[in-house]
Amino acid sequence: MEEKLKKQRIGVYICHCGGNISDYVDVTQVKDLVKNEEGVIVSKNVMFACADSNQKEMVKDIQDGKLDAIVVASCSPKLHLHTFRNVAVRGGINAYNYTQVNIREQCSWAHSDTPAEATEKAIGLIRAGIIKVSNSEALETIEVSSTRAVVVIGAGVSGMRAAIDLAKMGNLVYLVEKEGKPGGNISRWGDLFISGKKGNDIVDALTRQIKEQSNVTLFTDAAINKVSGSLGNFNVEVKIGTEILNLKAGAILVATGFDSYRPADGMFGYNQFPSVTTLPEFKEWIDKNQGEKLVFNNRNIKSITYIYCVGMRETKGTNKYCSRVCCTSAIHNSIQVHEKFKDINVYHIYRDIRTYGKQEILFERSSKNGDIFLKYDEKLPPFVEQIGGKIMVKVKDELTRNQEFEFETDLVVLVTGMVPRHDSLELAGKLKIPVGNDKFFNEIHPKLRPVETVINGVFLGGSCQGPKNISESVQSSLAAAVKINALTKNPKIQLEPIIARVNFETCVWCGKCAEVCEYDAIHPLEMYGKTVASVNEATCKGCGICAPICPVDAIDIAQYSNAEIEGMIDGFMQLVELNIEGKIETTEEQGSSAGMNDLPQIWRRISASLEVAAKTIPALATELDLNTEMITYHLMTMNKYSLVEAEGLDDNDEYYFYKLKKL
C-alpha cells in the first residue's frame, strides 16, 4: 500500500524506565535505527519519559524543532497516555498527533528472556508507532453545552438519596417514580438488617428531606415515555396520566431497582399448597404481626422451613448469579420470628450461607437460637409435598454424607432472590443502555468504571445494576451522583473525538451501518444531491462496529483508519538489521524477596526493603543508594499496579510512608 506520509517532523523518545526497559532492550541501538526512519528528526533516549524534567525537554524540542508529531516508546498507554497528550498540547501540537508505544509490558518484560528479539520487536513496534502518528489527524475534542439538571428515574432508597445529594450540589432534580408513592421495595418492610431501622421510617425521613429541598421535584404515577438527546442535553418525555411533560436534563440517573423472583406454580409446592410462601411475602407479614401464637393463612405454625437459593445460582437456568441479600434476609427473618413468637422450630435448608461482612453476626445469633441447618446440593434439591393436610419436607444433607431427612413442617418459606425488573428491557431500549447476561443494567466496567454506562451521561444507581442491600445500593447511587455533578457543574462538557467518520463520496446510503449501531448515532443526511450516512458526534461511542459492516468501506474510526492500522502492520514487518554483537548493559541482579521473582529487579529491591518496614521515598533512596527521582517513579508505578500502598505521613507531614500490599 502506497500511503504518503503526512507528518514530516516527528520526535521519538525511547524510555529506559530506569532499567525496566533498558535491561532487556538495547535502547541505544533502537534510538540509532529509528533516527533513520522517514519523517523522524529527533530520536532520543530518556531515563524516565514521564519525569517532569523530560516532559519539559519534550515541550522545548517540539517548540524549537517545530515538531509536528511525537512518539513515546515507554510503558503501557493505560498509564501515561494522558501525560503525553498534555505534553503535546503544551508544546503546541494537537493531542492526537501523539502515539504511545508499549515497549515495557508488551516487550521488555514479556521478552526479558530473549533480549535480542525483544530489541528487534521494540524497533518494529516503534516503526509502527511512527507510521501511525504520521498518518494521524489533528482532532478537536467535541464540546457540548450542558443543562444543570438531572432526571432520576425511580424513587426507591437509591434514587431518593441521590436526588437529595444532587440537589444539595446545586442541580435541579426531577425524581420520576412509576408508583403512587416513593420508597420502592423497602417501603413494604418493617425491621431491616443490619441497623434494625424500619423501612417506612427511612422512606419518611427521605421524603421529608426531599420536600425541604426546593430544587427537587418528585413526580409520582409517572412513566418515562421517550428519551432523546445526549449528554448535556437530554429530553425526557414523562407521562403522568394523560399529561405529557418534557424535561430537559444534562444527565440521567437510572435507579429503577429490582423485582423479587416469583417461583413457578408448583415449584416446591408454591401456589399449590397454602403453607408454602416466599420470603418477601412472609417478611411483609411478620413485620406487621406479633403475639402468643403464629397463625399464618389460618394455620397455627410451630415450625418453619426456609429453602434457600430458590431460582438463584442456577447452573443451567438464566439466574446464574447469587442474589447476595437473601441469605442475610432469611436469617434476619428467622431471628424476627423467634423475637416475636415463642417456641417455633426453624430449619434452614441452604446451599451455602453468604452472610458476608458484618452480617455474619446475624448468622451467629440464629445458630444460638437453636435453628437447624441442613445443606443441599443443587443437583439434589429438597422435596416438598402435602400428605393429608401435612407438609412434609425431604432433603439429602451434604454435611452428613447425603443422609436423607424427612420431617413435617407447618410453613415453607422459599428464599427467593432479586431479579431484574420485568420491564427493565423496555427502559433499556429507551435509554439505549446495555444489559448483561443476567439482564440487569450493565456498567462499563465493575472495577475501572463502575456506575457509568456506555451512554455518556446515563448512570446507574442501586439495585437496578445487580442485587445489593440498602447500604450498597446507596453507596452506588451516591457515587453516580458525584460523577454526574462533576459533569453537570461545567456549562461545557468535553468529549473524546475518537468516533466514526463517513466518507461522503463513497457512501451510497444502504443504511447497514445505522442498522448495527446500537446507539442510534447514524442517520441519513441529504448532501451533494444524494443521501449519505451522518454520525452524531455526541452519541457515537467510537466502538467501530459499523466500520466492517459497510460494503463500500466508507467508515473509519478516528485514530483507527485503514492508513493507520495497515501502516502499523507494515511497520511491524520491515526487516531489522541488528548489530547483535552489541551487549546490553544490565544492572546487576539482587537477591529476591518473597513472591517478587517475576518483577523488575529495582522493584524487588524496593520490596525487600519495604518488607522489613514501611519507608518514605528519601529513606528508600538513601538505603538503596539511588536518587529520589528514580525511587519516586518506580514507587508510583508499583502503586499503580497495587504492589505498594501509602500509609500515613512522616513526623514533618512531608513524606508518605509506603508499605507492601499483600499480593
Binding site: 493505560k78 462499563i444 467501530g544 517475576d598
Partner: protein, 132 residues
C-alpha cells in the same frame, strides 16, 4: 546472545479496556511468550476490518489472533456475533487468496487473563508451524 529460533509471526488485535490489559499482565508478571507476537489495540473487536487481516497475512504475518472481550464487551451484547461474522468474512477473503483459513483464530481474553493469553499464543504458534 541467544540463538534465534524461527517463530511464526502473529498479529494480535486486542481491545483497549479488557484484553489489552490482560496482555499487559502477562508482561508485568514476566510470563514469557513469543517475541514474534505484535499487538494492535482497538476499542472493540467488532471493529476489525477483514481487509486488515488480509493485509497482515499478505505482508508476511503467519497468523492473526483476535483477543476479544466475549460477553464482557461493554459496547454490545452482540459483540461475539459481530466478531464471528468478521472472522467468517476474513476467512472468505483468505480462501479467495489461497490462504489457509486456520491462520485466523479468536478467543475471549479478560483483563487478568495473563496465562490463558500466553497459552493461546503457544498453541497458535504450534498450529501455524504445522501449516504448510
Amino acid at each position: 546472545m541467544e540463538k534465534k529460533p524461527k517463530r511464526p509471526k502473529i498479529l494480535v488485535f486486542s481491545t483497549d479496556k479488557i484484553s489489552d490489559p490482560g496482555i499487559d499482565q502477562a508482561g508485568l508478571r514476566k510470563i514469557h511468550y513469543s517475541p514474534s507476537v505484535y499487538v494492535i489495540s482497538l476499542p472493540c473487536s467488532s471493529g476489525i476490518k477483514p481487509r486488515w487481516v488480509l493485509h497482515a497475512i499478505k505482508q508476511g504475518f503467519d497468523g492473526v489472533f483476535i483477543a476479544a472481550d466475549g460477553h464482557e464487551c461493554s459496547y454490545s451484547q452482540k459483540c461475539p456475533e459481530f466478531t464471528n461474522a468478521i472472522i467468517e468474512e476474513s476467512q472468505r477473503l483468505m480462501k479467495e487468496n489461497n490462504i489457509n483459513p486456520k491462520r485466523i483464530r479468536m478467543a475471549a481474553i479478560c483483563s487478568v487473563c495473563a496465562e490463558p493469553f500466553v497459552n493461546h499464543m503457544s498453541n497458535f504458534s504450534k498450529i501455524l508451524s504445522e501449516i504448510e
